[in-house]
């Protein structure tokens, strides 16, 4: 191979080569996605629109973030508005703490579901929470769904703030026949939980690796 090859190529040949690269690249990319364990399912709608809120349980009876005692006021109202508009119940951090400390949690009647991915879940989750990454539901539903179906109340959370995953997981569980009036979205998420210095569990569920979050 010569060190410097100044062979010419017509512009048409370069364009044809570019098209060839694009076609081959796309084909190989789709193949790689298919083979990758983290690959996406092309036909799946990962951000489905909400069902008609009128057909779902309304927020009547749910704890509203504007209840006396919450410090988040308008911001909490904003974060709670979207799931409530879809007929999902929302909980503020105080209500979640009450449920967490209720003995019914250890009896499996109050269940917590973490809607985040593996990395974030392993870094720290509410102790005893099931993981349900909605982007790979086949991996997590077999364990989480039976527990949710048997529970009286299911609290779903993700990072908090503008994170939507808890809302989508709540809908996923509702579509999987978990009764809507048992589902609650913890809008403050793990960020609020950790900000209060509550216990977090690292690693897998019930690993026993507990530590108090640093506010």
């Amino acid at each position: 191979m010569p060190a410097i090859d100044r062979a010419t190529a017509s512009p048409g040949a370069v364009v044809l080569e570019g098209v060839g690269v694009a076609v081959a690249g796309l084909a190989l990319a789709l193949l790689a996605n298919e083979l990758s364990p983290r690959g996406l399912v092309l036909s799946r709608d990962y951000f489905p629109s909400a069902r008609d809120p009128a057909s779902t349980n309304t927020a009547a009876g749910s704890s509203r973030p504007t209840d006396a005692g919450t410090a988040r006021g308008a911001e909490a109202d904003r974060l709670a508005a979207e799931p409530q508009a879809e007929g999902l119940h929302v909980l503020d951090t105080e209500a979640v703490l009450v449920m967490f400390n209720d003995p019914r949690r250890e009896q499996g009647l109050f269940v917590f579901v973490d809607a985040r991915d593996d990395r974030h879940y392993q870094e720290g989750h509410i102790p005893g929470a099931f993981q349900l990454d909605r982007f790979y539901p086949d991996r997590y539903l077999p364990e989480a769904l039976p527990a949710c179906l048997a529970a009286e109340k299911i609290v779903v959370y993700c990072n908090g703030g503008d994170c939507e995953d808890s809302k989508f997981v709540a809908r996923l569980l509702r579509d999987a026949t978990v009764q809507a009036d048992r589902l609650f979205v913890f809008v403050g998420g793990i960020e609020d939980w950790q900000a209060r210095g509550e216990l977090v569990e690292r690693g897998s569920r019930n690993s026993g690796d507990l530590q108090r979050a640093t506010p």
């Binding site: 090859d5 370069v14 570019g18 996406l40 990962y46």
Partner: protein
Amino acid sequence: MNRARIAALAALVARWVLGGMFLYTGVVKAVDPVEFLKLAREFGIVGSPAGLNLIAAALPWFEVFCGLLLLSGVAVRGTALAVLVLLIPLSAMVLRRALAVQDAAALPFCAVRFDCGCGLGEVAVCQKLAENGLLIGLAAFLVFSRDSLLSLRHRWL
């Protein structure tokens, strides 16, 4: 060192910089396609779920493919053309998003920071646009460069 040699070395450096960047950012996105999917959705590029999924699933691996071609010196000019065609609209989308963020937050343009889905996390938009400008320049240079120093197969056709 004569001009021809300098040009050949410049083309080699351009290939490695562009190829290395594409390989790195492609791998970062390919190992976490869900995160890239969420970011792509924020850009509002396509409305259909299938279209969004196609972009999020294929683009990272396509970048890896182009990066490997450039690093190894295979079909260099055609790959550079494909990269150029990709970089220009992507850069335009970053600019559009930055202008929207600037408008919403009332910030100076260069103070705008967000995750552009480029595989580099949150970036300052001016820095990102400057980087993309450099990459576009390198890609354009390679489209016209005929130097094939350390290339496995500079021309495939």
